[in-house]
Amino acid sequence: MAEEKKELSPELKERLKAGFDQEWRKGQRKAVPVKERMKLPRQKMPEREAAVRNRDFGEVNRGLDSEAAMAEARRCMDCANPQCVGGCPVSIDIPSFVKLVEQGKFIEAAWKIKETNSLPAICGRVCPQESQCEEVCTMKKGTGVPVAIGNLERFVADFERLGGNIKIPEIPPPTGCKVAIIGAGPAGLTVAGDLAKRGHSVTIFEALHISGGVLVYGIPEFRLPKAILKAEVDYLQKLGVRIRTNFVVGKTATIDDLRAEGFEAFFIGSGAGLPNFMKIPGENLVGVYSANEYLTRVNLMRAWDFPNYDTPVFKAKCAAVIGGGNVAMDSVRTSKRLGAERSIIIYRRSRHEMPAREEEVKHAEEEGIEFHFLTTPTRYIGDENGKLRAMECLRMELGEPDASGRRRPVPVKGSEFITEVDLVVVAIGQSPNPLIPQTTPGLKMGKWGNVEVDWKTMATSLEGVYAGGDIIRGGATVILAMGDARNAAAEMDKYLRAKPRP
């Protein structure tokens, strides 16, 4: 993963400065001294009660109300050198939108975000703000508690949507350039929005029957309600984006076929659709799922509502989820909601090394999820029908740090033990989907099966073909995919405009 702290571009610095120097901002800064702002407590995100919410798929977080949002925005000291913007992969003008919230100008705040981010209701929910914008927030340096930027983003996006007052920006006259985007996930949707706003004719090709990629098949309803995703996709369609679902690029048509049809620029955002397994005995027993399959059945196919929907999913007495990331948290909390008496995380390192967001871990704990750290499965045991009934695990201890800087788990000899489980979800990451690479001659690949790009321009080895998100990174995050997408869109726009026209 190439994740580096971004240096702000001169244009962006200038834009931020212009906002900072506006009279109303000056006045607002003066109105409440920094010392006072630092005393204000962070507004708590209201949540549904754990014992209730772990029985259904309703959203956990209820969102701030306008009073709480304004109070939270007041905590932002509107610093002259805002670090938060550099912490955001899509460079949202955070101080401007937060100060608009402080004034109660919620719609204007939403528009401000939408200048650089087409999907704020999603980002406000699923971004790991604590390791991005909020991590570098000056208020965090001062008080230890950053401004709740993510919660504010969610609030204004919801305010705009619920008010039914969604502003469609003015689209410049059509450029006549046809752009094909492969995959309607977070990266593809972002490129589509950015290029449609620049007047290009954009078509997204999506393999599944509903747009959203991981936002629809992976992230559960209780974290990201599908209605919100749908609203954001509808918004893109209002910008003129066409979406062709049930179209597998590489199979239904190749990139070369699409080029022959007149598409001039391409963005590959086909994601990390190839689940990793541990290659241990018993992994193909009935009752062992990849996280992708488990979550797809429940989220995309709505197996939680079986038999009203036709797709089934196993309901367990005791579900074990292998892994410590957000996908593992989503899976284990889903198993609880499907009625498991015990839902367990099995993670080979300690709590400290878990890659999942702190909020997800906290929510999981409140919902009664058990955590077994420093443990790894070694084999799965089935009954005579090939159905999983138990797993053998091994205790681990932490040794020297590995390449990722995290301490390497080392098996404790002779510590094997067997525990009864009737459902296992393997959530140990995924690899880039091979369909496009296999069917696109000349596309340069990296050693992990990822598409190789020039990280400055997101260009692949093929003329006019760009890529971003998990297809270049392996398993990463929604917002990193969107960051790649924004950079790619800017470069694709340049490419299209520089191309000689008849």
Binding site: A207, L208, H209, Y217, N246, F247, V248, K251, T252, A253, G273, L274, P275, F277, K279, E283, N284, V286, Y289, S290, N292, E293, T296, R297, M301, R302, F306, P307, N308, Y309, D310, T311, P312, N385, G386, K387, N433, P434, L435
Partner: protein, 277 residues
């Protein structure tokens, strides 16, 4: 949405469905499959492609009535629409001049071997088709298959056909009378493919089976269709569906195929109760 051009009962329990899908039709190759979803609440299920017409823009599959999804498909009429029809998926079958090829088909596989027979015949092979039917009245596409085969053999338990054998016995006969047979391909229910692979294994004749395990997305994303081939886990949707019949862990495949047996029965019972009050 994809339009239904035709849906017909071929023989009891076996139906043909022809869908308007010009882009899919342009790309179809023998051995591939499509994923179809009968309605908005339906399951995504894989169907082997039995024929296509690029000029007309249509793709045809044959399916057996098994569970809720196939029962729903069987009620579709010309002009209806299905929300999902995506493909062609999976790798295409290897087509070249092998010499003599035996194509074994049963159930929906009688339809699915048709494009394979056509392509192998065109590539210069001697094509022997062996189809398995319980009784004479279950034969469909006989003429169509005969037209692209050098020889067609029927395995049946029907006295009217003067036969009382299951398909592996017929294959064994062919392997003796047609020496050498260079390749066998079997398409049909898991048991038929297994039986064919077992019949050819002692003779070491390369036997390809076109697997149809449970799938969800059909593009490699979920891993529902994984099976063990030569000791390694393969995804039938992207590594197959053509796989080596002598290398497959058949017992594992049978068990995985039955993963949702109880759920499937419950689902079908609920559906029937609403359909047939």
């Amino acid at each position: 949405m994809a339009k239904v051009l035709d849906r017909r009962r071929l023989v009891p329990n076996l139906h043909l469905i022809e869908i308007h899908a010009p882009e899919v039709a342009k790309k179809c190759r023998p051995g591939q499959f499509v994923i179809i979803m009968p309605d908005e609440r339906g399951e995504r299920i894989p169907l082997s492609i039995a024929d296509w017409d690029a000029a007309k823009g249509s793709v045809t599959s044959v399916f057996l009535l098994v569970g809720t999804s196939t029962h729903k498909l069987s009620l579709l009429k010309t002009g209806d629409e299905v929300p999902v029809f995506v493909g062609p998926l999976g790798r295409e079958s290897e087509i070249r001049n092998f010499g003599t090829v035996v194509l074994a088909g049963g159930c929906f596989g009688i339809g699915a071997i048709y494009p394979l027979a056509r392509a192998l015949k065109a590539a210069g092979n001697r094509v022997i088709t062996v189809i398995d039917v319980k009784a004479k009245y279950l034969i469909y596409w006989g003429e169509k298959l005969r037209a692209v085969s050098d020889k067609m053999i029927i395995a049946s338990r029907d006295q009217a056909l003067n036969s009382k054998e299951y398909i592996p016995a017929k294959i064994a006969e062919v392997l003796h009378s047609e020496n050498p047979v260079n390749r066998v391909v079997a398409i049909g229910c898991t048991y038929l493919m297994y039986a064919c692979a077992m019949a050819t294994k002692p003779l070491g004749i390369k036997t390809i089976v076109n697997l149809n395990p449970i799938m969800v997305d059909g593009t490699g994303m979920c891993g529902a269709c994984r099976c063990t081939v030569g000791g390694q886990t393969k995804f039938a949707c992207v590594d197959g569906p053509d796989l080596d019949g002598h290398e497959i862990d058949w017992m594992e495949l049978f068990k995985r195929r039955k993963s949702y047996f109880d759920d499937e029965i419950q689902s079908l019972c609920d559906w029937e109760k609403n359909q047939l009050p």
